[in-house]
Each structure stands twice: as structure tokens, then as C-alpha cells.
Homo-oligomer: 100 residues x 2
DNA sequence: GACCCAATATTGGTTAACCAATACTAATAT
DNA sequence: ATATTAGTATTGGTTAACCAATATTGGGTC
């Protein structure tokens, strides 16, 4: 843990976060990284974000369209289902945090 | 990932969850494990929960009182501060999920 | 077409969260 | 006081999420 007072390093949440953010709006890998930086304060490395995107694409949770030199990713119907399921799980665990 | 459709395995959230649950009410390690099972659906193993509790105790985030054969853990002022900080971080990342 | 840059991809290695199995401890019962 | 059992603790090993560094690709520009 980088910060000694930080109990919540978000490890394991990256693909969840990706699906969530893509449900707000489609975007490219580099935009994703910046969006995640806004939220977490730490920008994921290329070696982190691209394999994560590749894995989600292989699972048919996301697709992309080439747009210039970027790949604009968006959710597939399967990805939306997965996200819904994960959000349910998430909320079951943390239901009483949101109403703090 | 156990479930192929699960994007959110909560790895890395255990100590955060512990602080959160202890802020609701003090409880022992075994009770913690059951409470976590209720939320996550998976009960953490002894080899997971007790080292986590020991680490938080060493950081002075929690203390305990012996009560029968149990150790009833509760938050210290420092633990409350850490939790507050972590909840802020958490909400910064996931602020728009809670209002789904 | 040669060069440059942004975006994407890959490789190799590290770390830490977690589990399974086993050991210890303390209270209670017989 | 011995056995039992719930609770707590430990040990050793596995796995996967992540990073740092490097490589590749694809557009634009001169």
C-alpha cells in the first residue's frame, strides 16, 4: 500500500471501473486512463490498461471502432449485462456506504 | 476470477470493509467473517481475516477487548480518521455508481 | 517517402491479497 | 483434570493485478 493510511487501493476493480466508465460514454484507451486518473488520483500504466481492455474485448464485453489512431471502446449488450450484475454485487457489499 | 462474468472481485478491499463494518458495531473476528460473507457471498478464510485484523491493530486503527474466547474489535480514533479518508477516496471513484 | 508523435501493444518481473491446511488457546463440560 | 469445541493464529504457497520499460502501429506533416 503506497499510502499507509489508505485502506482502499482499488486493486481488482479496474475492469469494473472500465465497464462503468464506458457505460457513461464510449472512449479510447488513453481517455480511459485519464478518466481513471481523475477518479483514483493515479493513472494506470499502458501495461495495465491495455491488457485489461484486451481481456474485456475477448470476453465480448466491449468492442471498438477505429477512429483516427484511437480505438473508441463501447459496451456490448453482454458488457451491459455484466456491468449490471457487478453493480448489484457492488451495492450488496457497500450498500450502507453510499448513504453515509 | 472465479465467475467469468464478475468484473469486481473486491480484492484489496478487505481492510476497508473491516473498518467500515466495525464503524457500524464492534465485533469479533469470526463475526466479521460472517458479516463479510453476508455482503460478498464468500467467507474470508482465517488466513485472510486474522492477518488483516492484526495489521490494522498494529497500525493502531483498531483495538480489542477479550470477551470470553473472543476478541471484540472496535475502531480507534485513528481508525475512524482512516476510514473517513478512505470513504472519501472511495466516493470520489464511485460517486456516480451510488446514484444508479 | 522520411520523419515525428500519439496511441496502442507487449514483455518480464514484482508484490501483496488471498487460500488451504495446520496449530494454538481458552472457556466450558463431563 | 481431561476432552471438546469455538475462536484465534500461523505457515507456505499461489495467483493475478499491476508497473516500468520497451516495441509497434498508424496518422499527420514537411
Amino acid at each position: 500500500m503506497q499510502n499507509n493510511d489508505e485502506t482502499c487501493d482499488m486493486r481488482g476493480f479496474l475492469s469494473f471501473l472500465i465497464l462503468w466508465i464506458l457505460s457513461i460514454r464510449p472512449m479510447s484507451g488513453s481517455e480511459m486512463a485519464s478518466e481513471i486518473e481523475k477518479r483514483k488520483g493515479i493513472k494506470p500504466n499502458p501495461g495495465t490498461i491495455y491488457p485489461a481492455l484486451a481481456e474485456l474485448a475477448e470476453k465480448k464485453a466491449i468492442t471498438f471502432k477505429n477512429q483516427g489512431k484511437k480505438k473508441v471502446y463501447s459496451l456490448t449488450p453482454k458488457g451491459k449485462e455484466m456491468l449490471k450484475h457487478s453493480v448489484n454485487h457492488f451495492c450488496k457489499i457497500f450498500y450502507d456506504i453510499l448513504s453515509k
